[in-house]
């Protein structure tokens, strides 16, 4: 067990090196000059631009630039942006916002999605089931920014229940609405996933046995049927935690939240290779950890699965 976890964690190292190099190459290949980008619509002064380029090693070949970056990372220095801010500052400022938003969304989609799925499976073909099916269909088909703008207009501007934008009011007020928007699509998928796998489990032999044994209904549904139907759901949730972090780009923009998504978009636009690489690496790490947790959860859910 412990060995399994260590092995999985060691796998992270080559993945991180590979990913950072690929991202570095991709951003390097984009046209546009980061130093000119600093000057906006005006021409950067040639002398000053040359000095900045030399300072940030921008006139060196790709592999040397990558070397400067990655050797810095291993000594704990994430580098600085082209306007002189430490990347570690940016990450520590913005990561909490995105993480809070992501985890809130994660909680919303897990709880509401699973509950809706169970209810729908238990009342198959009835009114409630149809409501869930129609609601999830709607959520899946509306683009995120439309859904976000509509909720913002209704709850923020008309009803004034939540702030329109920003994070001034802190958690939870400022985070609830964006988290709902961010969670919406996945919530719908989870509800459908739970519904179909529950439907299958309910018909399974071991559930019939449990009922025949005279176990209370609550225990039959909650433990015997649900536990077994959770495996595909947990797989989806694990994958989705990483996706939420990345998917926050649109939501953060609509709700003007100073999170990683907005920073990633901005840095990509300004061609700030070290920032883009640093942020993407962070997202990759979250993916890897989430997947590790998912794998370990399998063993909890299904005792037949062991990692020795």
């Amino acid at each position: 067990m412990g060995r399994y976890v260590v092995r999985r964690l060691l796998q992270v190292i080559p993945v991180v090196i590979g990913v950072t190099f690929i991202i570095f190459c991709l951003v390097f290949a984009l046209p546009g000059d980061p130093i000119q980008a600093l000057a906006g619509d005006k021409r950067a002064d040639p002398n000053i631009a040359a000095i900045l380029r030399a300072h940030y090693h921008l006139n060196e070949p790709l592999y040397q630039q990558y070397w400067h970056y990655i050797s810095g990372v291993f000594t704990g220095d994430l580098g600085e942006t082209y306007n002189g801010r430490a990347i570690s500052d940016i990450v520590s400022e913005r990561f909490p916002v995105t993480l809070k938003l992501g985890l809130t969304a994660f909680a919303i989609e897990a709880v509401i999605g699973v509950v809706a799925g169970i209810l729908s499976a238990l009342k198959r073909g009835k009114f409630l089931d149809n409501v869930v099916l129609v609601a999830t269909l709607v959520l899946i088909s509306i683009p995120v920014f439309v859904f976000g703008s509509v909720l913002q207009l209704e709850f923020g501007m008309n009803l004034k229940l939540t702030p329109v934008a920003g994070i001034e009011k802190g958690w939870p007020q400022s985070y609830i609405l964006p988290a709902v928007v961010l969670a919406a699509t996945s919530m719908a998928y989870i509800a459908r996933l739970v519904r179909s796998s529950m439907t299958e489990s309910i018909r399974a032999d071991y559930v019939r046995t449990a009922i025949a044994k005279g176990l209370p209904r609550r225990r039959v549904i909650g433990v015997h049927a649900l536990r077994n139907s959770m495996i595909p759901v947990v797989t989806f949730l694990g994958f989705d935690l990483g996706a939420l972090m990345g998917g926050a780009i649109i939501t953060e923009r609509v709700f003007n939240m100073p999170g990683l998504g907005g920073q990633l978009a901005q840095s990509l636009y300004l061609r700030e290779r070290p920032v883009v690489v640093g942020l993407v690496t962070l997202l990759v790490l979250i993916y890897l950890v989430a997947n590790l947790v998912v794998d370990l959860m399998y063993a909890v859910l299904d005792p037949r699965i062991r990692y020795e």
Partner: protein
């Protein structure tokens, strides 16, 4: 079950660890003064490009903050005229040696007195290439600039501009390398403000919490991408003229969101109403809008220096005459632009209404005739380049359609990913087509609409991407620089403008307008040079 149990614990530990970082990060939940009646006004800005060092701020977002925190020697008044701010008087005999007397009573927010030396130190820092400040070229008129900028790979031999001298604490003498009549208006740019001694000890830290000499002081640090909070500085000499008790710069990444916040009453001032709000903003904000000329000009440019097809001025004029500017201003921009009829913006002293005359007026028959006379374009084909990231697609496509219809050309609108990609291709002489361009002023003077965009030196250092050169134009600029009075300088600059209007290196297409809105907390306010004039803001 042993394996399963320990797996459970590892999983729980991992989840707890994730949760802990979420809470431990903290931050971002302080409340700001947006409650009504406390005199604090919130203002929309975008995230400043650099940290808040005046000489490193060359864009309007950070410029607005610098303008609230610092006071320079001159400033703009409500009619865009340059008036003295910290300067008591500015005198010169030959436009070359300037004697500036300072008003007394100004202190930095840490109590330090503002002296002539505070200006000299700040300008020496800004002009030194070692510090790589964005506004470095603005200091180039001051004598000794070239010693501080020997070029890449070379170290300056001195760190002082030879043209700066403190006669005494309140008298500053500036010697320029040549006559330059627009110097006092250049001084209104935020790069020329003074800096306290504390800056030079820790420029980086200063950029996060600047100490200025202006009407407002920082309240805490610059909270990146969130807000910059300031409060009124009570020891500011003109503090009694300012009603606002503090300015909270709220940072937005999306103007549509800022507009919603403004309408909902969570934001007090928005200087640029987004396109989505333009059709309704006057109804959404009754009597709380500002609708006036702004400083920027939009052009279509031609790579004259290396594409022979564009070297005929009549051809460029023919294209200009085939553009229906009014339709573009009204239909494409919904009134957020006005048709351009000069190279100089309407807010500047020296602008002449209709100066461009026939050449900027739609006249299909004449355009066709002129086009034929000029020999036309090879294959009757024209490419119009624009950057796809800045909302230019619509108007460029409208121009393309108009040219296609009115001149019978085959026009393709070519999107570039970013503005820089066009500029890079132009520098490399790779791109052969016409391109969109724009210029917004650094300081309110006719000269600033001519030299940085069309002069010989602007080919390497400015925005002269067409590579246009005309010696008469250069001579008239110098004549304007040396003119003994402002009126005469304007006259000379207008003559230089006339040369441009004859040659048309770029086609002026539209002037930007300022479409701003404010909340019911503000009774009235004035804006000049895209900056709120804080002494004109009246609260309701």
């Amino acid at each position: 079950m042993r394996g399963a149990k320990s797996a459970k614990w590892v999983a729980i530990a991992a989840v707890v660890a994730l949760g802990a970082t979420a809470c431990g990060g903290g931050g971002g939940d302080s409340s700001s003064g947006s409650g009504k009646g406390n005199g604090v006004v919130s203002v929309e800005i975008g995230e400043p490009q650099n940290s808040l060092v005046p000489s490193n701020t060359y864009e309007t977002e950070g410029g607005q903050v610098i303008n609230a925190l610092f006071t320079g020697l001159t400033k703009l008044d409500a009619s865009n005229k340059v008036v003295n701010a910290m300067a008591e008087s500015i005198e010169t005999k030959d436009n070359k040696v300037w004697t500036i007397k300072l008003k007394s009573g100004y202190t930095f927010h840490n109590g330090e007195k503002v002296t002539a030396q505070s200006f000299i130190d700040a300008w020496n820092y800004g002009a030194n290439q070692t510090n790589a400040q964005q506004t470095n070229p603005l200091f180039s008129h001051i004598a000794g600039y070239s010693d501080l900028n020997p070029g890449e790979g070379k170290k300056p031999t001195t760190d002082k501009l030879s043209g700066l001298k403190a006669v005494d604490d309140s008298t500053l003498q500036v010697t320029l390398s040549g006559a330059f009549s627009a110097f006092p208006s250049q001084l209104s740019f935020t790069a020329f403000v003074p800096l306290p001694k504390a800056f030079f000890k820790d420029p980086k830290g200063f950029g996060e919490a600047p100490i200025g000499n202006g009407p407002f002081e920082m309240k805490g640090k610059f909270k990146h991408n969130e807000q910059i909070d300031t409060t009124k500085y009570d020891k500011y000499p003109d503090a009694s003229k300012i009603e606002v008790k503090g300015v909270n710069f709220k940072i937005y990444s999306n103007p549509d969101t800022a507009y919603k916040d403004l309408v909902a009453g969570n934001l007090d001032s928005l200087l640029t109403i987004p396109t989505s709000g333009l059709p309704t903003y006057k109804k959404d904000l009754p009597n709380r809008t500002i609708d006036e000329a702004d400083s920027a000009v939009g052009y279509i440019g031609f790579p004259i220096k290396y594409n022979k097809a564009f070297q005929n001025a009549d051809l460029r004029k023919a294209i200009s005459m085939a553009i229906d500017r009014q339709t573009i201003a009204d239909k494409v921009f919904l009134g957020a632009r006005t048709p351009a009829d000069d190279y100089i913006s309407p807010i500047i002293d020296g602008y002449r209404k209709g100066a461009c005359g026939d050449a900027c007026t739609l006249n299909v028959a004449k355009a066709k005739e002129l086009y034929k006379q000029s020999g036309g374009l090879p294959g009757n084909k024209l490419e119009l380049g624009y950057n796809a990231d800045g909302g230019h697609k619509e108007w460029i496509e409208a121009v393309a359609n108009q040219l296609q219809q009115n001149l019978g050309l085959k026009v393709t609108a070519k999107p570039f990913e970013q503005f820089q990609t066009i500029l890079n291709d132009l520098d490399a002489k790779k791109y052969q087509g016409a391109f969109r361009m724009a210029w917004s002023m650094d300081y309110p003077d006719a000269e600033d609409y001519l030299r940085p965009v069309f002069s010989k030196e602007a080919i390497a250092n400015g925005s002269n991407y067409s590579g246009y050169v005309n010696e008469d134009f250069e001579k008239l600029l110098v004549k304007g620089d040396q003119a003994p009075t402002h009126e005469e300088a304007v006259k000379n600059y207008q003559q230089a403008d006339d040369v441009l209007l004859k040659d048309m290196p770029y086609i002026p297409v539209y002037f930007y307008t300022l479409n701003a809105g404010f909340s019911d907390k503000i009774k009235s306010m004035k804006v000049a040079g895209h900056q709120i004039l804080w002494d004109t803001v009246k609260l309701s």
